[in-house]
């Protein structure tokens, strides 16, 4: 009886926990990728089309690689997500932002850059991947302790 009750509680616990686990999505494949190409594949966008409608606002030269401000906006109609990929970082994918109805495809964030690198901004629009690239020079790298 007690055993059954415990089993029941365990099952209930799993049912309750599962929706939370599902909410906290984490793309292990894309974030674990060690090259930009693998990160793009992990995001389901191995060969994005270059686009001038993705606007990247970032410094040409970042003095401190520990805090590099990057502002990105997609003017491609129907943009549903934006990802920031830092080519030469040990793990290039810095973040992926999904925009639902009600949000503009815009984000500003601070990232760490180990060295001078191309930064690729990927936008998904109508299920199709687009990309813009911008080089940011780093004077002092920001990935050490």
């Amino acid at each position: 009886m007690i055993k059954n009750r415990r089993t029941l509680l365990a099952v209930l616990g799993m049912l309750l926990l599962k929706p939370f686990a599902a909410l906290a999505a984490w793309n292990e494949q894309a974030f674990g990728a060690k090259t930009a190409a693998d990160a793009l594949s992990g995001l389901g966008a191995p060969s994005p089309a270059p686009s001038k409608d993705i606007v990247i606002d970032a410094p040409q030269i970042a003095e401190n690689g520990a805090v590099v401000p990057i502002e990105v906006m997609s003017n491609i109609p129907g943009t549903t997500s934006i990802a920031v990929v830092i080519e030469k970082n040990p793990f290039p994918l810095a973040g992926k932002f999904d925009f639902k109805d009600g949000a503009l495809p815009f984000v500003k964030l601070n990232v760490k850059m180990g060295e001078t690198s191309d930064v690729r901004v990927l936008a998904m629009a109508g299920g199709k991947p687009f990309v813009a690239t911008r080089e940011i020079k780093v004077t002092i790298g920001g990935c050490g302790g």
């Binding site: 999505a25 994918l93 810095a94 992926k96």
Partner: protein, 97 residues
């Protein structure tokens, strides 16, 4: 340790501009503290999810993000929450000023 959050939500150019600061070490695997970073960020407008993000250890310590929401009005409730790779979480709610 994860500390308090700060947030400001204002109307600008017909849209809602959300600026949020999260106190978090955001350490990488190469650092002596080991890998400890926020993984998930969710932005809600009046209870409805508008932005869902996954972020890596490449985001700077004490992350600051800006988001833009379409339209909006004074008094709208904006909530931002995060969850890290160790299961710690935090959230903040504010009304659009």
């Amino acid at each position: 340790m994860a500390g308090p959050m700060k947030m400001r939500a204002t109307l600008a150019g017909g849209n809602t501009e959300v600026r949020v600061l999260m106190s978090h070490p955001m350490t990488t695997a190469q650092m002596k503290e080991g890998l400890h970073h926020i993984r998930n960020v969710v932005v809600k407008q009046n209870g409805k999810t508008v932005v869902e993000a996954e972020i890596s250890q490449a985001v700077s310590r004490n992350p600051v993000f800006s988001f833009r929401l379409k339209g909006g009005a004074k008094g709208d409730k904006i909530e931002v929450s995060w969850l890290d790779n160790k299961g710690e979480s935090n959230k903040i709610e504010t009304a659009v000023a």
